[in-house]
Symmetry: C2
Subunit: 365 residues, 2 copies
């Protein structure tokens, strides 16, 4: 098992943080809290930085990416930073012609529809990323330096990558798609080509995740936006193995005491899949649709849960938000440990003041 350098934050600053302890199964005095997509459009300081700037270009600018990552830590006092990036970044870096179109989402110039398309795609050597990921590495290093300056300097950074199925869904459809029919059709029609595609995507996204951890992220979250479109049987057979591969890319990295970097797995609308989503991870992120205690019953392992305040309550009067927070905390209390979060990303329309107040409320509970 390759040990992370002695200077890695997990060895120097974040190992005893509430977040890392909770992921590892402890119950720190205060429930740690962060928000998926906390760095982003809900923040005016983000919107002013992004003005006129392309999404992927922003992700690949180390100064901007680290500044955006730090913004919600400064503002909300959350217990984790999550690296500001886009799941498509490693695809762009490996040579796929992809853009993020405002108001649309990821658009792939040449969709991967047939086994021949897959063959062409997987000829792009993921090893290219060793060099190409340098802007990401630099962004993470600058983020780590910035985090050391905030508060007591113990706030951990979470590394972030898209799951192979979600990458494949964009690659096959060429753009955001309802029900991901194109990808699921390829999976059904050409399972061998599909498996080659998702193994390749796992390699690509795994290298992206590993680069973040090596440079200083203290945990790693695999994010499957579209897994919820799958029946359990298909997920188990044609998706979970690739997601496991992606997680394997960081699984061997250990801190000075030999403990691995905590791994988190989250899927949107994945209520049917929890029984198959524990790929030997430390924590399962739970969507807003399923109460945490019920999700746990479906997970065949003793994991930490993360989540799952319904983003729809953010616009409600504070007493309703407060009741919903308590609801989540009570459901989370049956888990070995709980990291408070939303059940999905922060909506662009969210009022940042409400998010700050939620952090304070969770900390005060």
């Amino acid at each position: 098992m390759p040990a992370l350098p002695e200077t890695h934050p997990l060895n120097t600053r974040t190992g005893a943080s509430g977040l890392v302890r909770a992921y590892r199964g402890d119950r720190p005095e205060v429930t740690p809290v962060w928000f998926m997509r906390q760095a982003g459009r809900s923040l005016p300081e983000y919107r002013s930085l992004r003005q006129g700037r392309d999404m992927l270009d922003t992700c690949l600018d180390p100064v901007l990416a680290s500044e955006i990552t730090l913004q919600p830590v400064r503002r909300h006092g959350v217990d984790a930073a999550i690296f500001f990036s886009d799941i498509m970044v490693p695809l762009r870096l490996v040579g796929v012609d992809v853009t993020i179109e405002p108001g649309v989402g990821p658009v792939v110039a040449e969709p991967v529809r047939t086994p021949a398309d897959v063959e062409r795609l997987v000829a792009l050597d993921p090893a290219r990323l060793d060099e190409a990921l340098e802007p990401i590495r630099e962004g993470v290093r600058q983020t780590i330096a910035g985090l050391a300056e905030i508060g007591d300097g113990t706030t951990p950074l979470i590394g972030f990558a898209g799951a192979p199925f979600t990458l494949a869904a964009y690659l096959v459809a060429g753009r955001p798609s309802k029900d991901h029919l194109e990808a699921r059709t390829l999976m059904r029609s050409h399972p061998d080509a599909w498996d080659a595609l998702t193994r390749w995507a796992a390699d690509v996204t795994g290298r992206f995740l590993r680069a973040q951890v090596e440079q200083g992220a203290s945990a790693a979250q695999l994010f499957d936006s579209w897994a919820g479109s799958l029946p359990l049987e298909q997920y188990r057979e044609h998706v979970a193995p690739a997601s496991r591969l992606a997680l394997d890319a960081v699984r061997d990295l250990t801190d000075a005491s030999g403990r691995r970097v905590p791994l988190v797995h989250f899927g949107v609308g994945a209520g049917e899949l929890y029984g198959a989503m524990d790929l030997d991870v430390d924590c399962i992120g739970v969507d807003w649709r399923v109460p945490l205690d019920q999700a746990l019953e479906r997970i065949d392992a003793d994991v930490t849960v993360q989540g799952n305040l319904d983003p729809a309550v953010l616009g409600a009067p504070w007493e309703i938000v407060e009741a919903a927070i308590d609801h989540v905390l009570i459901a989370g209390s049956v888990a070995r440990a709980h990291v408070f979060n939303l059940g999905h990303g922060v909506p662009p329309t969210a009022d940042p003041a409400v998010l700050t107040r939620i952090v304070q409320a969770v900390h005060a509970r």
Copy 2:
């Protein structure tokens, strides 16, 4: 209980059809099969009729609506017609400024965001529909006449309406929306206004459904496109009561032997909700994500199941389609009765020849 006229198809022609028998709990010799959205863009004869014609205008043209409804019955030999319409039709007819924009979906000119907006909306009297629904009534009558001319004339028409939550999701967001956050925020923030909105929507959509049944539909399906965005608790408290109201609009209509018109309830991605979706209906439609036998375990009633071939297999080689059909039939065999269908609407890209072949295969099993 108001009895349907003696001349109603349920009394004269469709009462002994496989579809009606299966909905009522029998197992006819041959498993009945139809496809959600069978009338629509997958058919070249539909595309040529629709060319240059607005969606809602088409729905409100009795000649076109009935012709489009009949097309898949002629082509595929399915065991049911489903009335070609759009869930937004009754909203347009009651006075809401709504259009269906090609490539976008329903767009509501004045979104209903606040309790004051709801108050203005519900001032539109649903009783207006008694007159305004005439084009729909005429479309149904022409469809019934057309069905009498196809095959042995016993093919039933299914009436169709959107569930109150789905209507409300469009009314509040003003257009198709990810996760239906706007509607769910109103539900959380102003439950009284929300309940007023959905009760009104139930009245409107219920009248639409009743008009179809009175004019000759032999069954009624309530379609909740967006229920899958809801946690069970919210669904039970703030959605199911309105859906029940909508179904109540047709529940009292009986055939000559005093049996009510079969009721079907379907929600997309509603795996978490099956425990609350049996609103005393005869049949639950099941999404492709949950095997029929597992869905039944979650439904606290002895119902017929409808579904649920994954639309993603339609593009696969025939032996894969065939295996998936058998998979669905085997899972459906534990139910009291089974109506074969897809687990969602026919995708516009589907090959009609495959659909025809599926009908033949299900009939031959």
